[in-house]
């Protein structure tokens, strides 16, 4: 493998992961604020992440197995923020119940004890 190509692959992999993170953050902000700018930015961020994934598949000297891993990870990165968000909403909705009241009483006792 050409050394410079290998090193450039490293930087591209970092960009790929960073863009996945930016997509996740913007997705979460879009859910919180419901402003179109966040939704659009999130889409752009994931789009750029997909471009990075494509660049890795088409232009880096990684083997086929590794390229499949990149594509698979991209799909996982796409699904992860919405799944996480839905589960957060679900658990927090559930939390407004006996469990939460018990927990806040517990917390009050802790604070009083301090």
């Amino acid at each position: 493998m050409n050394a410079l190509a290998a090193l450039e692959t490293g930087l591209l992999l970092g960009l790929y992961a960073l863009l996945a993170g930016i997509w996740g953050v913007l997705f979460a902000l879009a859910q919180l604020r419901e402003m179109s700018i966040f939704r659009q930015s999130a889409t752009v961020a994931y789009g750029l992440h997909a471009v990075a994934a494509l660049a890795i598949v088409l232009s880096t000297p990684l083997g086929l197995g590794w390229k499949c891993l990149i594509v698979g990870s991209s799909l996982a990165f796409l699904a992860l923020p919405p799944m996480t968000w839905r589960f957060l909403q679900h658990t927090h909705r559930d939390g407004v119940s006996q469990h939460d009241r018990k927990s806040s009483q517990h917390t009050a006792r802790v604070v009083a004890g301090l």
């Binding site: 090193l7 490293g10 992961a17 919180l32 996480t84 957060l88 939390g95």
Partner: protein
Amino acid sequence: MYRSQTLALKYFAAAITFFGVMTLTGLLSSYYYINPDFLFGILPFNIMKILHINTLVIWLLMGFMGSIYWFLPGELGRETAGIRAAEMLFYVFCAAVAVVAVVFVFVQYGGSNAVALWLINQGRKYVEAPRWAALGIVVIMVVFAYNVIGTAIAARKTTGIITVLMIDLVPLMLLYLIAFPAITNMSADLFWWWWLVHLWVEATWEVLIGCIMALALMQLLGTSRRIVEAWLYIEVALVLGTGILGLGHHYFWIGTPGYWLTIGGFFSALEPLPLLGMVVHAVYDAGAQHMKTTNRPALYWMMAEAFGNFIGAGVWGFMITLPQVNLYAHGTQWTVSHGHFAFWGAYACGIISVLYLVLQRVRDLAVVEGQLWKWSFAALNLGLVGMTGALLVSGFVQAFVERAIGGSTLSAFISAQENAWFVDGMVTRFLLAIVFTAGYVVLVWDVLTLGRRVPAAAVASAAE
């Protein structure tokens, strides 16, 4: 306040002190690259580096212990079991660290015999402390584990978080035993050494900080126990599910079979996934509070933990984890760039967050506010990210010039070190280290004066 919480304050004080030693020795270590005659013949680079990386481990361990000693009584509803032993051992711990450091500085090394390993320097990275001190650490950890487990037994109760913590402490302690043997075969030495280092910082420590953050979230945001427990189990499953075999990313080049390149590369490439989940979770938590809380520094440092962990450990690690890239990046300043960012994001930010939570209670503050925490937050994070960026430049150049072009010979090493871009990166790193150090000074100032500062208006009215 429980005695356990008083002890927690002592551990936090010691942790912040050793954080300062780490920062100072880091600053000085980085200066050697700029002035190679610095302390030559007096204090060699390796001793300064040993001080830097050992205080890193010590301050974080003390921060973990302080956090657990703080939260434990509230969790289990009673004083920590074995607290007297723990109180005494705190002073022994601090004294031992001081003695070890003094011997490192003034004795530095002995002969090639067991006496030197027992009394002076064991010469294995992160665990250079002589065997007598390593034994001391084992005792301290055993007592700490007793403090946690014994309290649960005495209270006849446990919680999900404490159960995870108790189970996590067992492998954490057992792994430390790897600090003892002197293994002749370097391949075997590094094989086991990586069990200790990786399964600490990419497994058991992650579970430990996860438990601490769960406890902190309940206090900071009033999050329900059921929620933090469910998320703790998810995090443990994903982090250990990827991290246990992710250990293989340290087994590419140490003489181990080639299947580790596939296994290690594959599993460690998955490691960023749970970290992204944590980032989304952090944004949710911040948003649910509209970033309003009675303790903004604690919230901001907790956000820094989630983001720093993802970027420092996740993104930076992802750059160099595939073996095709690692072949060139291995053992260069690129590794250093990743290491600094990862430790900072994964652990340091979380400890500082808990520190502010504790301070709010101790100083009896309805609201934690002020300018100082903002300045230290900015300087520490900008300094750290700046250092990381500078090291990335130097590391990339070193990977190319030394490994790719030069083939890693002695001359190739020198060529890379003298490369203009490399040098600029190391100078920039040093300058940003000064920024980081300034941020540390402001942090200490804030910690010492929080809740004790007289507001300007009160001073003015008193003067009238």
